[in-house]
Each structure stands twice: as structure tokens, then as C-alpha cells.
Amino acid sequence: MTELFFIFLNLILLTVFFSISPLVFFKKYNLLNLNFFENTTTNFLIYFNIILFLSFLNLNLSQILKIIFLIFLIVLLINIKKEIVKYQKIILNHKVLILFVLFISFVLSIDVANKIFISWDSEKFWTSKVLNFYNGYKIENLSDAGNPHYPYLGALITSINWKISFIDYEYASRLILVFIFCYSLITLIDNFKINDNKKVLFFLLFLIIIYDYDLLFSGNQEILIFSFIAIIMNNYYKIKFIKKINSNYFLNIFSIILCCNLIIWTKQEGMFYVIFLIVTLFFLDRKNTKLNTLYLLITMSLIGVKILVFYIYNLEISLNKSVITDLSLTSLLSKITIERIFIIVEYLVYAHFQSLLLLSGLLIYTLIKLVKIKIQYLEICILLNLLFLLGVYLLVDNQEFNIKHGINRLIFNITPLIIMLYLEYFNNSLKIKT
């Protein structure tokens, strides 16, 4: 009974904590009228980046938590009246959706608490990093944790949730992944031009199609990549309708940059995902090429910061040596054969029959083309990601083994792009009807 209560309490604490924005000091932010979910996701992006930055200073978990709580208390005390009044209105207007998301988060958390087991990859790569932070060690100790060339954001965030929850068991660390996943998904779905009751329906439908404990909550980091990309897609959709540069535009860009930084620190391939996402911006917002170039430079510097931090703390800098051992040109060129390409195509086709969302995404894309809806930015993003998938599996050692066990996870990373296809088709169809 107590575990059930603490799981629910953990969820409520996360919701309350991330609903209060550290950006309330900025008057322009308060005028932006963000909805509850956008506000929550922006807040957790800010806090995660602060936590990541604090980890660079070689602080342990207790020290990081004290600073975060101090920031939270200052923000709360200064703006408590304003926040209560503002959120009363927002919550009353969207109470159905908010309550529903909380309920679904609770259902998924209970599933995590029962299934408990962690994936093979999580045992090998991630759990040792989680235990590093949870036991009070710092970034400098990660070289002892095994696989030091892997980033550690997921381990840092989950260990924090494990520490602050009242549950001593390992699964408590993964409850925050449920929260992040649900809120990022609903933030994206909130863009459908339908009432809240129908958004609940769509949320449930996507959940039913996507949900797989092994893929989502068994400790793999793909859930974080999915969530951050979903938030970025929400920002892209908003930018699409902004006619001139204003505070709204900059908030969306700010959110994108924060997400990109977090993606870089989640998985090694994150570096490639963020480059593809920022390049997409050039096709989404063609008027502001100079600004887009600036964002690309900022993203490259964030990658540079990661390399620098790894260098300072003696963490290995390598591009996934466990799957590509020989990075010499001759070795890589020898792997580009028709036979290897066919194997990738075979598994890619098979993946469509394993994932209903992927299969239906193909159908929706066909409909989009028939109705002639312009989604060039999305097509470029999907193409870049597919080419990346092709490139990785073309050059990897033990190709068939790696593709068999990894392709579903790589495809899952870019699932928000498929949800965007639904969004574009649905909203544009409504426009055509009216």
C-alpha cells in the first residue's frame, strides 16, 4: 500500500515541481500564455540543463539537489501568488486533459513498479552510471563505472528521481521517464486542432500503438531521445505559424537549443540527431537563414562542450567502439556492399510490420502527397534520419546481430516525426474542409 502511495506522491511532486517556472523573472515570459504542458516541458528542460551544468562542476547528487531546491524555493517564494492565480485558470480550463495525463502516468508507473526488470543494454551500459550518482559519486568517477565513452544524462536524471522519491528500489529511478514521456507526448498532441476530449482520445490511441515496456521503460535511453524530439517537433510546429520574430519565436528556439543539448548528453548518436534537427530548421524557416546558421553554430559548440567535458574528466571520447571497432577508411569502404544494403532494406521492411505506427505513417504520408500538403521540413528530417540509419547499419560490425536487436530502438527515436505526419495531415484536412 505504501509503495502505491509513494508512486502517486512521486508523480504529484514532479508535476508540482515542474509546473513552476524558473523563467517567471522575465516579464515577457509571463505574457506568452503557454499551456500547462508546454510550460511543464519547458521547465523540465531548463532544470535538466541546470542539473547537467552542475554535474560539470564535479558536484555529487546531494550538492546538486540542494542547489536545485534552493532555486525552486526562491522562484516559488517570489512568485507564489501570481503562479497560483495563473494556474488556477489554466488547470480549470484543461482539467480533463491534465487529470487524464496524470492518470495515465500513474498507470504506466504501476506497470514499471511491477515489471521491474531492466534491459540487457541497461544492465551493461546505464545502470552502473545510475549507481555512480545515486551512491554519491561524481562525474570524475564515471571512468570506473564502465563504458565511460557513453553520455550520462539519463543516469543523472533517473538517479535524482530515485533519491527524492520515498522508494528505495531501483525502479523508482525510472518513474521520471514515465513523467517525461507522457508530458512530451501530450505537448505534441496538444497541437491537434480538436477539443480536449478528443485530444484525450488521440493521446490514448498513440499510447496504445507505441506502448512497449521493453522499449520504453526498461532503462534504455531511447525514451529520452523520443521525448526531447517530440518537444522539438512541438516547437517546430509553433515556429511554422510565427510570421515575424517575437518573444514566442525566441522561446521556441530557446526550447529547441535546450533539447538539443540534452539529446547530445543522452546517447552518442544524439550528436547526429541534433545536427539533422537544426538543419531541418533551414527548411522550416527559410526567411531567417542567418539566425538558423547561428543556431547551427550554437549546436556545434554544445557538441564541443561535451567533448571538452569528457576530455577534462578523462572519459573516453570515441564513436561507439563497441559496434564499429575499425574506423579506418579501407575497412569502412569494404563494408559498402549490395548484400549489406539488402539486409538493411529487409529489416527496415520487416520493421514496418512490427510497428503499427510506422506502417500507418507510410499510409498517412501517401495521403499527404495525394492532398498536396507541403511538409518539406519534415521530409528532409525523416530522410536525414533514414540515411543515418542506413549509414550506421552499413558500417557496423556484426551487422545482422546489431540490426536485429537495434533497429526498432533507432526507429523509435524518430517516432515523433511520424506523429508529426498525422498532425500535419489532420490539421490541414480540417483547414481544407473549412
Binding site: M1, E3, L4, I104, V107, L108, I110, D111, A113, N114, K115, I116, F117, W120, E123, K124, T127, S128, L131, N132, Y134, N135, Y137, N141, D144, A145, Y169, E170, N197, K198, V200, L201, L204, L205, L207, I208, Y211
Partner: protein, 148 residues
């Protein structure tokens, strides 16, 4: 009037569809059973039950997560701080050793305490006489301490 009836009928249909979808989702995630198991079983029981259903493990099978957790719960108070028993898995297939179950970061391996997994008396050369048997599961998984 007709529009109102259509609206009500549509709203009723949406609500019925939503309720059905919620029930389907709760069934998909086994919510009622999960709540019951959470109320009935403690973490150790759920952990062991969960790993019994995982293809690469079991209680005293393959990676044997269940047995290792059982030993951790039973003997954690008598184990040295920040050192864990050595895990030896005699399964013919090379298995991971889930030291993470002890929840230490980079723990020291105590060579005097051994969790022996997938032991087969007829096939193995492992000499049990040098050890005191502190726990024995079907003569297949054992927790041993070296004799002084």
C-alpha cells in the same frame, strides 16, 4: 432540435469509444493485476517473479537474477560494506554477472564469498569442500563462504 440530437449522439458515441479505449489500455498494461500484485507482494517477490519471465534469466537459471537478489536480501546485513560476493556462473553459455543488484558503485569483489550459479555436480570441477554452504537452492545455486 435535430442538430442537438446529432450532437448528443456524437458526444455519447465519443464517450463510449473513449471508455472502451481506456479499458483496452488498462488491459494492455495489466493495470488491475498490477495494482493487486503491488498490494499483495513485496518488492523481492515481484523482482523474482519478473525475472522468472525474462528470457535471459530466471530464479536459478541462466543469469539467475532472482537467486542473486534473494542472497542480497538474506545476507546483506552480514556482507562487508561496499564489497560483494563473487558471482561464478557455470552455465555453458557466457552470462552477464549482475553485480548491480547489490546497488553499489564499482564494488570490491570479495573472493571469500561466492554465489555459485548453474552448478552441476556431475559436470563441474568446482571443489565445494573448501567452502561452507550458507544457502543452497536445489544443489544448483549456492552461496558459499571460504573455510578459514
Amino acid at each position: 432540435m435535430i442538430l442537438n440530437r446529432k450532437f448528443i449522439k456524437n458526444k455519447k458515441t465519443s464517450i463510449i469509444f473513449l471508455v472502451l479505449l481506456i479499458f483496452f489500455f488498462l488491459k494492455l498494461t495489466n493495470f488491475p493485476k498490477n495494482v493487486y500484485d503491488l498490494l499483495k507482494d513485496n518488492y523481492e517477490e515481484r523482482f523474482i517473479s519478473s525475472y522468472n519471465n525474462v528470457f535471459y534469466s530466471g530464479f536459478c537459471n541462466k543469469s539467475s537474477h532472482g537467486y542473486i537478489y534473494h542472497i542480497y536480501k538474506k545476507f546483506s546485513k552480514t556482507m562487508n560494506q561496499n564489497s560483494v560476493p563473487k558471482i561464478i556462473n557455470l552455465d555453458p553459455i557466457k552470462r552477464k554477472k549482475p553485480y548491480w543488484i547489490f546497488l553499489f558503485h564499482d564494488p570490491k569483489i570479495n573472493q571469500d564469498e561466492i554465489i555459485l550459479l548453474n552448478y552441476d555436480q556431475s559436470l563441474s570441477n568446482f571443489d565445494l569442500k573448501k567452502y561452507e554452504i550458507l544457502d543452497n537452492h536445489q544443489n544448483k545455486c549456492l552461496f558459499l563462504r571460504k573455510n578459514d
